[in-house]
């Protein structure tokens, strides 16, 4: 296992500043959230995407502004890769002025432009099929992209949606961030068979990517995304990731061995080792930038919501 990871690290391709910058921006944003929680400055709960930041950065490079994106409970990275508006997202999570949804939706319920997240597992997939069907009719070539986790595959709505998407040729891209753990339950204890097998059962194209290299992920996704657009049919992209943080805040029950494995599978140290100068420069920039974002949002007054 570790040998394979080392091999992957060695194989990292040169990364564009813009991509690494965005990955680090998301990482520092998530770390800032956990710090704010520790200091008692955040209300409620949150699910950080530590270790998974590179996936939405890779995917977003292939998306069109007219595509829809559906996100889930672990959606800050999805949002920030799509909309570079960390102030608005942090204000949303903190219930401050300038919040993208006036503080009503919070961490898991964000609707901005054509980005929409919901907090119930699998619920967004049938909705995404409906949206994809309209896109196919009104703006052919546009797609609906829905991020889900491996745990989401326990929900029946996933299969109803895949069936309808394939049956009706909906341009739906399902991106599975397969981090191997559903909250506290390892995939092996909650999923029989495989995601590939389940997609195959519906005749839905499936592609699995094991790399943490943002270029490799994007390169492998590109023909799949192009086919979703041109052939108007669904596809499932399963990307192996490691959840480098807890499910929520301090609720990680994994063994030290499992945690070490997750940390070793994280993209961040791999990029830090492979491109030390570039990494150090961008990491420092983003650390400082997110620090300023936090300072700015912390002094904002509470958000307003006129209840309908």
């Amino acid at each position: 296992m570790i040998g394979a990871i080392v091999e992957r690290v060695r194989a990292l391709t040169p990364v564009a500043d813009a991509d690494l910058e965005r990955m680090l921006r998301i990482r520092h944003f998530e770390r800032a959230l956990l710090r704010l929680f520790e200091r008692g400055q955040l209300n409620g709960t949150t699910h950080t995407c530590l270790g998974q930041e590179h996936v939405p950065v890779a995917v977003s490079g292939l998306l069109d502004p007219d595509d829809y994106v559906f996100s889930n409970h672990r959606g800050h990275g999805h949002f920030l890769a799509r909309h570079d508006e960390p102030h608005a997202l942090l204000a949303e999570i903190m219930g401050r002025q300038g919040a993208v949804c006036n503080g009503v939706g919070g961490s898991q319920h964000v609707y901005h432009g054509r980005f929409l997240s919901t907090g119930v597992q699998g619920e967004s997939l049938p909705v995404a099929v409906g949206v994809a069907l309209r896109l196919k009719r009104v703006t052919p070539g546009r797609l609906a992209c829905a991020y889900v986790g491996d745990g989401t595959w326990g929900e029946g709505s996933v299969y109803e949606a895949l069936n309808m998407a394939q049956l009706w040729r909906a341009p739906l891209l399902v991106v599975v961030e397969h981090n191997g753990i559903a909250q506290s339950t390892p995939t092996g204890a909650q999923m029989s068979g495989s995601i590939a097998g389940r997609a195959a059962a519906f005749g839905v194209r499936h592609h699995r990517i094991d790399s943490v290299d943002v270029n490799v992920i994007r390169h492998e996704l590109a023909p799949l995304v192009a086919a979703v657009r041109s052939e108007s049919r669904p596809a499932v992209a399963e990307i192996r990731v490691h959840r480098a943080g807890p499910h929520s805040k301090g609720d990680d029950t994994r063994t030290p061995e499992e945690l070490r494995e997750a940390a070793e599978g994280d993209w961040l140290p791999a990029y830090a080792d492979s491109f030390p100068e570039q990494f150090a420069r961008l990491d420092e920039e983003q650390r400082a930038f997110i620090g300023r974002v936090v300072d700015d949002v912390l002094i904002r007054p509470a958000s307003d919501w006129e209840r309908p």
Binding site: Y111, L116, G119, P126, S157, N163, M164, P308
Partner: protein, 327 residues
């Protein structure tokens, strides 16, 4: 014209008038035209906008919500309203919540049609009236078909609010004639006021009692009212709202003020009923003028048996309503 044909005609007209309207449901396409034939002819005329779907109630309500979210208008038929339970998450946690949970008004023009009710011997899972389970969900409006309300106008009203709606349609009502031009039968007349139908006996006599009921109860209410008038010399008026929730009693308050007896009848099972919600709204307004608490008539606290004689014991009959008024 029968209520079923009238509703079918209204769906045809809506699809004709608005190219953004899509209808989804199980077995709704021709030649079958839906389990109750409400969608007959729609697919032949409107092609790809009328979609027969897999057996996936949650999925198709989600697809309808997605179409609505992105700019279309969607009507989803649930073959038997009982199966709307399978779509509860989409209604509760997505469609209704999305209208407000993103901090601004998000229109979700979605109508979920639910053939509802018993008296056809379909048994415990194909006969229920589930209205009460959908009451009190912020952003979800509940409507019920009646023989008095024009279905064209009803569909327009539901879409105008831009909220997801559930439309309950009594399955026996489908076979009844629509009432037009103020005439119900030889004895009763009706008028529409602010979304309510008021049914009254000809003549200028103030009623002894007002019965409030969803459209599906109409035939049984009328039978009870006839018997009460002819045999008990009690005059009743019937009030039928098109929207069950949120209920707006304001248009009928002038009728209710001064009445000594109010009775609410419905087909749902006893406990946590729509009638309790109606009474909650009306009691503070009418407490001083009522002779006693509002009388609530519902089906028994029971599953709905299949055999006709057993089903009759559980569901509301005309006589159940008559007895409640006489009590």
């Amino acid at each position: 014209m029968r209520v079923a044909e009238h509703l079918n005609e209204a769906l045809h007209a809506l699809l004709d008038a608005d190219p953004s309207v899509h209808v989804l449901g199980e077995d709704i396409a021709d030649p079958y035209g839906g389990a109750f034939k409400i969608t007959k002819g729609l697919s032949s005329k409107h092609g790809s906008r009328v979609i027969s779907t897999p057996l996936s109630e949650g999925g198709i309500v989600g697809v309808g919500a997605g179409l609505a979210l992105a700019g279309d208008r969607a009507i989803v038929e649930i073959m038997f309203g009982d199966f709307a339970a399978l779509a509860f998450d989409q209604l509760l946690n997505f469609a209704s919540k999305s209208t407000t949970m993103y901090g601004r008004r998000v229109p979700i023009p979605l109508v979920v049609r639910c053939p509802t009710g018993g008296r056809r011997g379909y048994g415990p899972t194909h006969s229920q009236s589930l209205q009460k389970h959908f009451i009190g969900i912020p952003g979800l409006d509940l409507y019920e078909l009646s023989p008095f309300h024009d279905a064209h106008a009803l569909l327009a009203t539901m879409f105008a609010r831009q909220n997801p709606c559930v439309l309950f349609e009594d399955k026996v009502l489908y076979t009844r004639r629509v009432c037009r031009e103020g005439v119900v039968d030889d004895l009763f007349r009706f008028e529409l006021t602010g979304g309510w139908a008021r049914v009254y006996a000809d003549g200028d006599v103030p009623p002894d009692c007002v019965i409030i009921a969803p459209g599906g109860l109409t035939d049984r209410c009328l039978e009870a009212m006839r018997d009460l008038l002819m045999e008990d010399e009690i005059t009743c008026e019937l009030l039928v709202p098109e929207r069950l929730y949120p209920l707006d009693p304001a248009p009928v308050m002038p009728i209710l003020r001064g009445v000594r007896t109010v009775c609410v009848a419905e087909d749902g099972s006893a406990g946590g009923t729509w009638g309790a919600e109606v009474a909650r709204l009306l009691h503070p307004e009418l407490w001083a003028s009522l002779s006693g608490p509002i009388r609530l008539v519902s089906a028994a606290d029971s599953i709905i048996p299949t055999a006709a004689h057993l089903e009759r014991e559980v569901l509301v009959q005309a006589d159940t309503i008559r007895k409640a008024v006489l009590a």
